[in-house]
């Protein structure tokens, strides 16, 4: 849509922007609940196999997880700056920042794949495929099953986020977003920040504590 069109049902742009943002926040809440089911399973299994979980966490690849944490924090920063850049109507800077965010996202996925390869070698796989030599307990099996499922779903959302950022780069490059009207960009960045927040919570329970 070339110029910013105002839906017939809206009185003015302010009302439309508020509706779009509130809609995005409600959608992010439903995404949160999607992960809530996994957090509940993790918490339940952790209650059942407490100390096995701690041993498994000690064995988990902390380096990969921590690097990914910093990667996502930087990507959150760059994508937030891109909104600031559009607000200063500096289009090229915004595109550069968005591209760097995509690059960081792809870096996250590459590190993730390396980590999965590492776990594959250790046979730390979900469910019946789990044959880790040094941790033959049920608790370790549960931990790595939940590890694979949670990081898998999160990686799936990161891939979606990278594609969304690609679409935002296209729209910003074509000059669609102006200093006054850039709600679409803000919604896209909000989705990316949610991905970062999910990892902020996944990182401690899968790698640290």
């Amino acid at each position: 849509m070339r110029a910013h069109s105002l839906g017939e049902q809206y009185a003015d742009f302010a009302q439309q922007d508020h509706a779009l943002k509130l809609g995005m926040w409600v959608f992010l809440a439903s995404e949160l609940l999607l992960f809530a089911a996994l957090f509940a399973l993790y918490a339940a299994y952790r209650t059942m196999y407490g100390d096995d979980f701690r041993e498994a966490i000690a064995h988990n690849t902390l380096a990969y997880g921590t690097v990914n944490m910093y990667v996502l924090l930087c990507s959150s920063f760059t994508v937030a700056l891109s909104v600031w850049a559009v607000r200063q109507s500096r289009r090229v800077l915004a595109v550069v920042l968005l591209l760097s965010t995509m690059a960081l996202g792809i870096a996250f996925l590459v590190i993730k794949l390396l980590e999965y390869a590492e776990h594959f070698r250790e046979r730390a796989l979900p469910g019946p495929y789990f044959h880790m030599a040094e941790l033959p307990t049920f608790g370790a099996n549960r931990f790595f099953t939940m590890y694979w499922v949670m990081t898998g779903v999160h990686a799936f959302h990161v891939t979606g986020g990278v594609c969304l950022l690609g679409w935002l780069v296209h729209r910003t490059w074509s000059g669609h977003y102006t200093a006054a009207h850039h709600t679409g960009l803000e919604l896209g960045t909000m989705y990316w920040h949610l991905i970062d927040i999910i990892w902020i919570f996944l990182w401690p329970i899968l790698y640290l504590a």
Binding site: S30, L33, A43, P204, Y207, L208, A209
Partner: protein, 110 residues
């Protein structure tokens, strides 16, 4: 939107710095391998980081109150689901209490 309540560039930098510091702090604390509270401390730091991202990076600071309610309600239901599920597993008195059968246990031989 009025210029006044916009999140300025300085706020972005400050938030990013805060996030990195908190992440590093959480990492260092994890090396203590503090058996009991390790999880609680790292989750508390995670909550602080999440609030930082929400308010500054996602511009919640400059939006109306209804937008903040959605996240609060979402968080409430997440804690509800996690809490009551853990409550069940934690207080289960199966007989004998949750045996720890090793994989080789004949109990599982088909």
């Amino acid at each position: 939107m009025s210029e006044a309540n916009k999140v300025g560039a300085v706020a972005y930098l400050g938030t990013f710095a805060g996030l990195v510091v908190l992440a590093t702090l959480s990492l260092l604390l994890s090396f203590l391998h503090w058996k009991g509270g390790g999880l609680v401390v790292s989750l508390a730091i995670a909550v602080v980081k999440a609030v930082l991202v929400l308010f500054f990076f996602m511009h919640l600071a400059e939006q109306r109150f209804t937008n903040r309610i959605t996240m609060l309600v979402g968080l409430m239901f997440v804690s509800l689901l996690v809490g009551l599920t853990v409550a069940d597993v934690a207080t289960r008195h199966t007989f004998p209490s949750r045996t720890k059968p090793s994989p080789g246990d004949p109990f599982y031989s088909r």
